[in-house]
């Protein structure tokens, strides 16, 4: 009798033991400060969160890192630098996270890296494009995110190869927008001085850009570059279309913000989106690592939508932390930072190593793969878009389609 009880007990214990071993150990905390409520871009925040969650669950299902599960603590920063600063402060100093990740708005990043720098905690920048984030030269900050210089130079090349004469850029009044527009201008001056380029800053909070668009009606440029984010970008596209400025046989719009794969893109722009020329960091035709495809599948399963670059970027920034911990064999932040600097990072989007030359490339994954494609029909999923520039290849202007009139 007694003996049988013991057997049951043993059996139970054994069973309990079989339950995922990871959760025996206390979790590794990783802090994420993102936008979950207005005025910031909640659209971005949501996708960052999705990406993080998916990868985290995958890793934990495989038993976590160093035998410990990953736990992500989210803080809402409303896209306000000040709030971001406070959130980071909280995560680092009171929740004691081993690393920060997920930053997706340059203004906020710039505030947050100050904190990370002060506490010497690694900070992985998921989607802050502004070069200033790198130029601060903080050893704690690692950038798996694309950066304005990359985008601008690619756009400059594009414009040069397209052989256009006049270009007008609309930039939102953030460091991302203005930074990109300025940079594109400078690079154009170097690459193709014959191109006449000017940019206009628009208030991203504004709802009516007609007044900015109207002056273009008299004499439309060949390309209108957009360095803007939703929702302002959507409104601008609609109003440009409404005023008949673009897309036309003469004028196309060129998006430098990777808009076209936002989940709410088509529900916000209708005809305006057709013929949009887009710089993009993700395209199904890119070479995908198996992990990336798994994530895409999982994302489809969870949200029913197609994967997009931001989700992957988010996963990537988490992946960086995980690999760092694994190669450092510790969660101690100094060791972690060392490891992340020295190891070579197998990114979800292809192997990548960080340059450490000061300036825009500091601790930046330089060769982020990108493409240029054009949307040739309404409601067109990314997979069916026309690649004007396949990954790693030259921009082929001959593939660009113009509307009949």
């Amino acid at each position: 009798m007694m003996f049988r009880c013991l057997r049951y007990l043993a059996g139970l214990m054994g069973f309990a033991f079989l339950l995922s071993p990871a959760f025996a150990a206390d979790p590794i905390l990783i802090g994420v400060s993102l936008t979950q409520s207005p005025p910031g871009s909640v659209v971005q925040g949501t996708q960052v969160k999705d990406g993080m969650e998916i990868l985290k669950d995958m890793v934990n299902a495989k038993g976590g890192v160093l035998g410990r599960p990953i736990k992500i603590l989210y803080e809402d920063n409303q896209g306000i630098p000040e709030k971001g600063r406070a959130a980071t402060e909280k995560l680092i100093s009171s929740d004691k996270v081993v690393a920060m990740a997920g930053g997706h708005q340059s203004s906020v990043c710039l505030a947050e890296i100050e904190v990370a720098h002060r506490y010497k905690v690694p900070y992985v920048n998921t989607n802050c494009w502004s070069d200033d984030v790198r130029k601060r030269g903080y050893p704690e900050v690692f950038n798996t995110s694309p950066y304005n210089t990359l985008v601008s130079s690619s756009m400059a090349t594009t414009l040069a190869t397209m052989g256009v004469k006049r270009v007008v850029a609309f930039a939102e009044n953030t460091d991302y927008g203005i930074g990109q527009a300025k940079l594109t201008g400078e690079l154009l001056k170097a690459k193709a001085p014959q191109i006449e380029y000017k940019y206009e800053t628009l208030d991203r909070a504004s709802k009516d850009f007609t007044a900015a668009v109207l002056p273009l009606r008299a004499n439309p440029p060949d390309v209108i570059v957009m360095s803007m984010l939703p929702p302002a970008a959507y409104l601008l596209m609609n109003q440009v279309y409404e005023q008949g400025v673009a897309p036309t046989a003469k004028t196309l719009m060129y998006d430098g913000g990777g808009l076209a794969d936002y989940p709410d893109f088509w529900q916000n722009v209708k005809e305006g989106g057709k013929y949009l020329l887009s710089f993009a960091l993700y395209h199904p035709q890119m070479k995908q690592t198996p992990l990336a495809s798994d994530i895409a599948a999982e994302y489809k399963k969870r949200t029913g939508g197609d994967i997009n670059r931001l989700v992957l970027q988010a996963a990537d920034s988490l992946e960086l932390v995980i690999q760092g911990i694994e190669s450092a064999k510790s969660t101690d932040s100094d060791k972690l930072i060392k490891a992340m600097q020295t190891m070579n990072f197998k990114s979800i989007r292809g192997v990548s190593d960080f340059s450490n030359k000061p300036g825009f490339g500091y601790q930046q994954w330089l060769e982020i793969p990108y493409v240029n494609y054009e949307l040739t029909a309404e409601k067109q999923p990314i997979a069916q878009t026309v690649l004007i520039q396949a990954p790693g290849q030259k921009f082929d202007a001959s593939k660009i389609v113009h509307p009949a009139k």
Partner: protein, 296 residues
């Protein structure tokens, strides 16, 4: 040519502004308080329109009245639950009216924004247009069908309102209460009921303007901010509570904004309306069309 375009667009947006602002002006005229949640009335209207039309697949033309109803309902609730204590009971409240109103409506706007953000989600929707003419040339100016229709509807609404206020019994009662609450109630007008009517109208107009603009401004939970600030400016510009003043001020604002942003600076465009306001107040403290009453 460009000037003409600007004028046309300015006027159209002026109409939209007017529709947004009138409701605020009315509340102002009657209660002399700032309704900080005015922008959220707009937002609720826009969302009702979008959701009813997109999710329930109802024709936009039916979604419009739905939006109106939602706005009126919200207005009624606000008056009933939050505003009433200011002029009923709470005798001691006479002196803390302003602060109470501001704080309570501030809380309300915060509540509504975040409720919608959590329930409907943060993504912005583009409302379905009332007519599917994506763009057409009206003489030299380009318009979307929606913009044209919206402008027409809002003009009609304003005319309707003006007639309602001038002709109908209710309208007369509103005027009475606005001029002298006590006097009106002595004359046997149910001031409380009139006030709640005003809130309903105000909410309805804001909601309608939200619905009409939904296809143009792609509402998101925080959409309310821009109509709200514009409306505040317009109301002061037009002279507190003067409906005609508000309408005119709205048109002026719309047009001058358009020109300012092209010929002076786009960046400071939203500051511009406010600058006009400051200038006007320097010379006419009672606003453009408000008339100075006798003190004492």
């Amino acid at each position: 040519m460009l000037a003409f375009d600007l004028l046309a667009n300015g006027l159209i947006y002026g109409c939209f502004y007017a529709l947004m602002a009138i409701g605020l002006a009315m509340i102002f005229g009657v209660l002399k308080i700032v309704n900080f949640a005015h922008g959220e009335f707009f937002m609720i209207g826009a969302y009702t329109y979008v959701l009813v039309a997109l999710k329930l697949g109802v024709s936009p033309w039916l979604a419009l009245p739905c939006a109106a109803v939602s706005g009126a309902l919200l207005g009624w609730l606000v008056e009933r639950l939050l505003m009433r204590p200011m002029y009923q009971g709470y005798a001691s409240w006479g002196f803390m009216k302003d602060e109470y109103a501001v704080v309570v409506t501030f809380g309300l706007s915060l509540l509504l924004i975040n409720l919608v953000d959590k329930i409907v989600g943060p993504y912005s929707f583009r409302g379905p247009p009332l007519i599917d003419v994506s763009r057409f040339a009206l003489g030299p100016i380009m318009l979307t069908g929606q913009k044209a229709i919206a402008a027409v509807v809002s003009v009609l609404l304003m005319i309707g309102l003006a007639l309602f206020i001038k002709r109908s019994v209710w309208g007369k009662q509103i005027q009475a209460v606005a001029q002298n609450r006590l006097g009106a109630s002595l004359a046997g007008i149910d001031a409380t009921r009139t006030t709640s009517l005003i809130f309903m109208i105000s909410g309805m107009l804001a909601a309608l303007s939200g619905a009409l603009l939904a296809p143009l401004v792609n509402p998101s939970p925080d959409i309310g901010a821009f109509p709200a600030v514009k409306s505040y400016v317009i109301v002061v510009l037009g002279g507190m509570g003067s409906i005609w003043g508000a309408m005119l001020a709205a048109l002026i604002l719309g047009v001058s904004e358009a020109f300012f942003s092209v010929y002076i600076s786009y960046d400071y465009r939203d500051a511009f309306g406010l600058i006009i306001l400051v200038v006007v107040l320097l010379f006419r403290p009672q606003g453009l069309f408000g008339e100075k009453g006798r003190e004492l």
